[in-house]
Subunit: 343 residues, 3 copies
């Protein structure tokens, strides 16, 4: 693909005189002369010096940091441009439609047009699969599930009975959805399992990372709103409801019955207590431990989580404690005329 | 099921005049007129106003918060009542006994009565499976394992060689048990694997959540006591021993050789160092980082974990630091007659 | 195996008069008279009193804590000795070479000598498998992967397309490698997936724990250096590069594009922000939250992570806050002649 064609696709400006042919994209320090590379942060500007790439995608601000002679495509948003470009450079592979002879279909399965069902996959009784959906090798789909058109299940996914997956949603390897929630009644010193009879509903355009677990509702439903993006190894407990377009970074845990609005961001490894309400557009910082409701638009961090400004101030204070103690001792000496021993 | 019959099953008192027929249970805001709903916390009382449910299960204290005209079943413990009721409303599905034709059994497998072995499951040489046990689709059971009567392995479980699973225990999808522990000897700048030759023994009535990993012992055994309930995505390292009836919430990590007594509760995402002893009935708060022994009955929280009372006091102090600094400056000004610059 | 032969293998000194025959190794409190046991920490010395073991492996320093009459093998490094010994006591099981009849091989797979491919495994088009490699039951290997000689994939591993696994590397059950990274471009209120077209390269002599997830590069590569040892349930995001011989304890999360040098240790549940550089030999303490670069050789801990010494001092100060406040009140009383109310 010519650099000039790339500039056209991403709405950028080609500079540098030549118009090389590029076959791939690669980072600054790994690029070959047939690769387009990119520079989007001053942090990596030093790497731009020695890159072997054939051309560079760069923001207006950093354009001057590119060495003379390297053809550049100047854009306002490098990552947005890359997202537009990549499907052209790397056309998505289409999975061949068809039912692998080793797949096992229980009775009453309904299958749309151009569906692909992989090797050794198992599809439970009464499950419906929409047009062009892909069921990866070794996926195990319970009974009475609903997998909508263009959904893509990677290998080794498990859906328990009755799970719904929306159109175009992507489930990565090892996702478990519709798992029994963690519910027990305590009787005579034993934890007695409370049957988990609710549902698990995943909206359209959701992506769920590898080995992430989503419990079914206890009696109600666990609901993942349309457009949510969930990373690897996340835990979502029973009855949780996420609004549309939430972002959930890796290893987050959300306890039972918590409800988040739309466009909530959960930073990596954050833990959210059960029965909490989180407003639209709130941000939970990485590793935060959230024990109370969070207002719409608010950013919270730390343990226990507090408004981020307040948490930062407290953290800063923590590291000034030794100096503070010294000042206190000076005062005590001046006023009380003696050295106090530290407690 | 008539409301009056439900009241009988849960030992509750039916009030409200009518006796509707109910076919399911659902939360306040999702219930239909054929559903029983429930109210167990004042937090959700406002939702009780508009519920479309046909009847409500409610505690004595909250009974007055239910709108007139809605038939109510009044009990002392709503969740306990629900646990009793659900198996009546939703009779558990029985898995058909039998060996799926695609399952692979290595030589010397012994199988009890009415066992179910799912599609594509693999059972290793010399493994014994007790009566009525269910081996889910795609489970891979190593050689010389022992799966006791009525155990239930969901799809995609992996047992390494020699793992024992007690009666009635439930392993959810993606559980890995008997995994090699993380043990290396450091020689000439390399980490050399120490063979992990111990065992992994899971007691009776244990439940283990999806994608949870339990290592085998290095030379001894990793032991999960009877009645323990373990949530999703938990890591239990080699040689750990959990006493009976422990509760381990999602994403907890317990490092090697740590021993917990009976009825210990591990809050979500807590991390426990290796070679630690935790006494009976102790509680580890969510996200705690535990680096030392914990006494029986004690509650610890924070990082590094301390007795909960002490940790709360320290946390509270942290957020009073800005005010404290202001007071210190006032004193300095009064006493030393000058403004000190912050360090 | 005679105790005298064991002493020879581990380069130790047999003391105690007799030379028992030993068939296994077991911890102090679980050992039988045919077992060798071991004592390497004073913490467990009390257990040495009552052990039923036939002999004990013990360090010079703790040798005196062993009861008279129990044959002992005295060494300088008990765990190193055990690592040397175990392959003799427990010869590793060799997996029978061959292709299980239920395995599925797509076209153009190349297979070395003495390879084992387990039941129901699926190997994608164009993948090359080196000599003596083991592909466990139910592994799903994408197209164009490269699995080098003597690599060992346990059951239920998923490799996405184009993943490379080095010689002698071990992947435990449920590992997902080459997963799409978490990359979206935000357009008109939607998160639009950025194609993840990079690679995932795992060096030689790497071990990866159960259910660990390693993303492929976005356009570059995610690289795990030779000799790295990674525990269970770890998350490694796109474009991360780990140098040789790093140690990554369970449940660590490393965000995108972070680069670590050689011999870096990541403590359990630590979280590392993206685009960070960590120098050779650095140590990240358990549960740390790392938001900035870490110098070579440095140890950091806490949230946000700071040099460990500084973090410890701050933590200590935190628990002295109540006493500090009392001292401040005393000063205020003496100087200002009044009792201030706490803010």
């Amino acid at each position: 693909m010519r650099a000039s064609a790339i500039a056209l696709v991403v709405g950028g400006r080609l500079e540098g005189g030549t118009d090389p042919d590029l076959t791939g994209a690669a980072p600054l320090d790994h690029a070959a002369p047939t690769d387009l590379t990119l520079l989007s942060s001053p942090r990596y500007a030093p790497d731009a010096e020695g890159t072997a790439a054939g051309a560079i995608l760069v923001s207006e601000e950093l354009s001057a940091r590119v060495r003379a002679g390297l053809p550049r495509i100047v854009v306002s948003d490098v990552h947005g441009a890359l997202a537009l470009l990549l499907p052209h450079l790397y056309p998505p592979q289409t999975t061949q439609a068809g039912l692998h002879p080793t797949a096992v279909l229980e009775p009453g399965v309904s299958i749309g047009d151009s569906v692909s069902i992989g090797a050794h996959a198992v599809v439970g009784a009464g499950t419906r699969i929409g047009d062009r959906a892909v069921i990866g090798h070794h996926a195990v789909i319970g009974s009475l599930c609903r997998i909508d058109a263009d959904a893509y299940l990677h290998p080794h996914v498990t859906l328990y009975a009755g799970v719904a997956v929306g159109e175009r949603s992507i489930l990565h390897a090892g996702v478990r959805a519709g798992v029994d929630g963690f519910g027990y009644s305590h009787q005579d010193g034993r934890h007695v399992k409370v049957p988990q009879v609710g549902r698990c509903t995943i909206g359209a355009d959701v992506e769920i990372g590898a080995n992430t677990c989503i419990d079914r509702g206890s009696i109600g439903s666990t609901i993942i709103g349309a457009g949510c993006k969930i990373d690897n190894l996340v835990h979502i407990a029973h009855n949780v409801r996420l609004g549309e377009h939430c972002i959930v970074i890796a290893q987050v845990g959300i306890a039972g019955s918590t409800r988040a609005g739309r466009y909530v961001t959960f930073g990596g490894q954050a833990g959210i207590n059960g029965h909490i309400t989180i407003g639209d557009g709130a941000t939970i910082a990485a590793q935060a431990g959230v024990f109370g409701d969070v207002e719409a638009g608010e950013t919270v961090s730390g343990y226990p989580a507090r408004p981020h400004r307040e948490a930062l101030k407290a953290q800063a204070g923590l590291f000034r404690l030794p100096a503070l103690m010294k000042r206190l001792r000076t005062l005590e000496h001046a006023l009380l005329g003696k050295d106090r021993t530290e407690p």
